[in-house]
Each structure stands twice: as structure tokens, then as C-alpha cells.
């Protein structure tokens, strides 16, 4: 395993994502600080794990990175271009490159759409039509369904006809459809039965390797992050508590909090 372990300022080339002083507050007079001065670099091909407990700001961070929300202060640049102040019509380069997989496929798949229209929906976006040229939606649909090990006839059925693990595959197929370079996965297996988690994780790992994807993997499950990611950021109350190569963060955590997190991982005790 070659782990491109990049301390933030040692990256020679421009990182894919460059996050500086990112702060997002909610509520009146900004009383709730969801994110508080986060600095973060993600380079192409990196597999970054973001761990933290509920309320640590994980979801806020990835929403900002996907330009689904605007920060209160701070900046995010993607491929050297500042995205936090761009209007939606000019975010095409980001929309074409960054896709998300959410926690619960029951909520992330529209129950009233067929699998085929769900998976090809990203191709309808004006940005992607522009970026990809006339896309053969049908061809692409078969390709991505095949990539996630779903039969081609799945396209005509509805999400509720599938099991939880299969539904998450559909969500992954949708994320792959526009041919992204960055995959942001927000707790993609925590809503699934234990018995199918490993399958979905193997699938994700395989797709990331096969397509040279940059992976940003959000999870509260440290064992999974350790397995899948080469670098880790530990978030606590909106701030980065510790970051570094996965082996180091989990093997020899420097901060008190990370140590507590690591030791709290439930282990089989016999």
C-alpha cells in the first residue's frame, strides 16, 4: 500500500481542494458554530477519512466542499478556483467532478422514480450536458449498473424493490454516472445491515481504485476509516483535532480526544 501521506503544507503541486479558515455558523447571531476555522488540503488520488462524533461538523464540512451550502467565512478552492462565492451557474466544473453518496439510501433515492431515471438524473444537469457532450444515457446506465453489480433489468424497477445494500449500490451508480473525479461518501454503510456492509465497502474501494477517484469518506466508525483511507482528519466541535496518515492517527494518536475515540471502538471481547 503506497500511502501518499501529505502533511498540508508539504504538497508540492496545487492540491485538488484547498480549504482555509472555514467557518460556518447557524442560528441567530451565529450562536452555533458548526465549523470553526478549518484548514484542509486534499490532493488528487488521496483517500481522506473524516471522523468525528455527532455535532463535530463532519456533514457541514462536506456540504461546503460540495458547494451545497455557503460558509460564513473562509475559503475553499477546487482545482485552484475559489468556489464559495461562485453563483450556481458557474459551478459547472465542480458539479461535473464531485459526486456524493449519502448515509441512508431510503432517503437518498426518490421513491417515485425508477432506478434508471435516478441513476441518469445527473446527466440531465446543464453543466454535465455541457461538459460531457451528448451523452448516451442508456449506454452509461448499463455501464454503471454493471460496475456496481446490479443487473441491467434493475433500471425499470423502483428503489423499494431492492434491499438496503442494493439500494446503496444504486446510489453509488448514480454518483458514478457523470464520471466524477471526487467521491464524497457520508457514512455510506452505517444505515446498512452488518452482513452487507463489507460488500459495499469492498465495492467502494474497488471503484475508487479502478477509476482513480479521490475519496472523501465521512464516518464515525474508525475501524472502517482505518481500513479504507490513507489520511485521516479528526473533527471535534467544528475544529480539526488531529490529522495525518491513517496509520499514525490510529496507531499513535497525539491528541487526548483521538486516543479516547480509538479506545472506544467496540472490540470483540471473548
Amino acid at each position: 500500500m503506497s500511502a501518499p501521506t501529505l502533511p498540508p503544507d508539504a504538497a508540492a503541486s496545487t492540491p485538488l481542494y484547498r480549504v482555509r479558515g472555514l467557518t460556518r455558523t447557524f442560528g441567530r447571531a451565529g450562536r452555533v458554530k458548526a465549523l470553526d476555522g478549518v484548514d484542509l488540503d486534499v490532493s488528487a488520488g488521496q483517500r481522506l477519512g473524516i471522523v468525528g462524533e455527532s455535532g463535530s461538523g463532519k456533514s457541514t464540512l462536506i456540504r461546503l466542499m460540495a458547494a451545497l451550502d455557503r460558509p460564513t467565512t473562509g475559503s475553499i478552492s477546487f482545482e485552484g478556483q475559489e468556489i464559495t462565492r461562485l453563483p450556481e451557474p458557474r459551478l459547472g466544473f465542480l458539479r461535473a467532478s464531485v459526486q456524493l453518496v449519502f448515509q441512508d439510501p431510503r432517503s437518498s433515492l426518490d421513491p417515485r422514480m425508477t432506478v434508471g431515471s435516478i441513476v441518469t438524473e445527473p446527466l440531465r444537469s446543464r453543466h454535465l450536458r455541457g461538459a460531457l457532450g451528448p451523452v448516451q444515457a442508456g449506454v452509461r446506465l448499463r455501464e454503471v449498473l454493471d460496475a456496481v453489480d446490479l443487473p441491467p433489468d434493475a433500471a425499470g424497477r423502483y428503489p423499494h424493490e431492492f434491499s438496503g445494500g442494493q439500494r446503496q449500490r444504486i446510489a453509488i451508480a448514480r454518483a458514478l454516472a457523470p464520471g466524477p473525479r471526487v467521491l464524497i461518501a457520508d457514512e455510506p454503510v452505517s444505515a446498512l445491515d452488518v452482513s452487507v456492509r463489507a460488500q459495499v465497502l469492498n465495492l467502494l474501494a474497488g471503484l475508487v481504485a479502478a477509476n482513480d477517484l479521490t475519496l472523501i469518506f465521512v464516518s464515525h466508525d474508525l475501524a472502517v476509516v482505518r481500513h479504507l483511507c490513507d489520511t485521516v482528519v479528526v473533527l471535534r466541535a467544528g475544529r480539526i483535532d488531529e490529522q495525518g496518515p491513517a496509520e499514525q492517527v490510529f496507531g499513535e494518536p497525539r491528541s487526548e480526544y483521538t486516543r479516547a475515540l480509538v479506545s472506544a471502538i467496540p472490540r470483540i471481547r471473548v
Binding site: 462524533e53 434491499s163 482505518r226 472506544a264 467496540p266 470483540i268
Partner: protein
């Protein structure tokens, strides 16, 4: 005589009689802690609810569930209700929805006490505060006067635990009690559960999909799959030398820390192939 004896329990639902639990038999001794492991739809929660008598009306129950010698299948609701919270109690997964949002938690705990032990209700508040202290809530006074939304997830789960234990039940059923909690809070709640169950000498039926969590609380385990108990035995034996292929798969997937990073994870399918479409 065992504390809980379940024999040939069969539960089916609806007009089509979809079978959720299929001829399940097991027993639980006083003070024993038994884990039930299974995925969603395996029948583990339905089994627990039939002991609690909390199955929906559409459920048809056959077989026998004996708690402290008393048959629970077919027991009228009014009599079953008297046992709940007294002889047997339950801790639910989601502490936010299991607590009444409009009532201070202290009063909610006291209500359980008054219902079943009226003779102790004169000093109810004192009992409640003592119980909240025993479940590790240091500022019991403040917690008792708080509404659920003013407490953290861990505090709420401790309050539920206090409610479940205040009448010193013989059996506590925990349905995924830590699934909704953060890992550090989960670790603390599990340690606490272990401690108070020992102190109270209560038996426990612990339902979870997480083998590691079960192994920290229970001495024995049942593995359920599609309504059947496919394997049962002591934790040590089941986790080190599982017999049923499905159990072998579960144990293998739970040992994610033993797989080198980047390598393919073992899946249940590797051991127990079956059609995924359900």
C-alpha cells in the same frame, strides 16, 4: 426453572401470515445475559416484543413464553401491563422518541415507580434521584428537572436505563440501546450497563446487530436469521469457533481490524451465499 423459557415461539403478521419468528426456543437463567444477533428482519426485535407483550394487534403468536413460571402467550393485556416495568422492562434504541418530550424526565421515571410500587411513591423523588445517580448521572437533581431535549443523547439513554431499573426487574430487555449513540458515549453506556446489571442482579436480553457490542455485555448469544435461531452458545465459543456458515460470515466481517488496510474485506456472502433480493 429458568427465569425465561421460550419454546416453539412462532409469530406471524397480517392476513398473509408472514412469519417473523419461526419455532424459536431458548431459555434464560436468573442474572444471565443473552445477546440476540441478527440483521433487520431476522426476528430479533419481534422476539423481544413478544416477551414484553408489545406486539401489534396484527401479530399472531403461537408457542409458549414463560417468565418466572407465568405463561405470557395469551395473557390478557391488563395483566401483561402489570408485569411491564416491574418484572420485565425494556430499554429502547432511540432515547429521544422513547421519552415524552413534554414531561420532565424525573417525573417520567417517578411515574414508573408509582405505577408498580405505590408503597414507595411517598418518597418517589428521593428514589428517582438515587436511581439517576446509580446510572452515572452526577447532577441527578438538574437532570430530573430537565426536559428530554435539554439532555444529551447519553444522558437520555441513562434516564431510560434508570426507568428500566427503578423497580428492580428480574429481566431487562435492551433493543439496540447504543446504536444511536456516538462511540465514546456508547463505550460509557455499555460499561455502565454491565455495572448496574451486575449490581442489580438482573438478567438481560440484549438485542444488537453488532457482535463486538454484544460480546462486551453478554455471556451467551443467539444468532437469528430469517426468523430462525441458527446458532446459540456461549460468547467465547460462538466467536472463536462458529459453526453455522452465516455466523462464520458475521464473525469474519466483524473482525475488520484483522484485515490489512486496502485488502478486500471478507463478506457474509463468502461463507453463506444467498440471494440478496429480499
Amino acid at each position: 426453572m429458568s427465569l425465561l423459557e421460550v419454546s416453539d415461539l412462532t409469530v406471524s403478521f397480517g392476513r398473509r401470515r408472514r412469519v417473523a419468528v419461526d419455532h424459536a426456543s431458548f431459555s434464560l437463567e436468573a442474572g444471565q445475559r443473552l445477546g440476540i444477533i441478527g440483521e433487520s428482519g431476522s426476528g430479533k426485535t419481534v422476539t423481544a416484543l413478544s416477551v414484553m407483550g408489545l406486539l401489534p394487534e396484527t401479530a399472531q403468536v403461537a408457542g409458549s413464553v414463560r417468565l418466572a413460571g407465568r405463561e405470557l402467550v395469551g395473557l390478557p393485556e391488563s395483566q401483561h401491563a402489570r408485569l411491564r416495568g416491574d418484572l420485565v422492562s425494556m430499554v429502547f434504541q432511540e432515547p429521544m422518541t422513547a421519552l415524552d418530550p413534554t414531561m420532565q424526565v424525573g417525573r417520567q421515571v417517578a411515574e414508573v415507580l408509582r405505577l408498580h410500587a405505590p408503597e414507595r411513591s411517598g418518597r418517589a423523588r428521593q428514589h428517582v434521584l438515587e436511581m439517576l445517580g446509580r446510572v452515572g448521572l452526577t447532577d441527578a437533581e438538574r437532570v430530573a428537572d430537565s426536559f428530554p431535549h435539554q439532555l444529551s443523547g447519553g444522558q437520555r439513554q441513562r434516564c431510560l436505563l434508570a426507568m428500566a431499573l427503578i423497580n428492580s426487574p428480574d429481566l431487562v430487555i435492551c433493543d439496540e440501546p447504543t446504536t444511536a449513540l456516538d462511540v465514546t458515549v456508547q463505550a460509557r453506556v455499555l460499561a455502565l450497563l454491565d455495572e448496574v446489571l451486575s449490581a442489580e442482579g438482573a438478567a438481560c436480553l440484549f438485542i444488537s446487530h453488532d457482535l463486538a457490542v454484544v460480546s462486551q455485555v453478554c455471556s451467551d448469544v443467539l444468532v437469528m436469521l430469517d426468523g430462525d435461531i441458527v446458532e446459540a452458545g456461549p460468547v467465547a465459543k460462538l466467536f472463536t469457533a462458529p459453526e453455522h456458515p452465516y455466523t462464520r460470515g458475521l464473525v469474519a466481517t466483524a473482525r475488520i481490524d484483522q484485515v490489512r488496510p486496502g485488502e478486500r474485506l471478507p463478506t457474509v456472502e463468502d461463507f453463506y451465499p444467498r440471494a440478496e433480493a429480499r
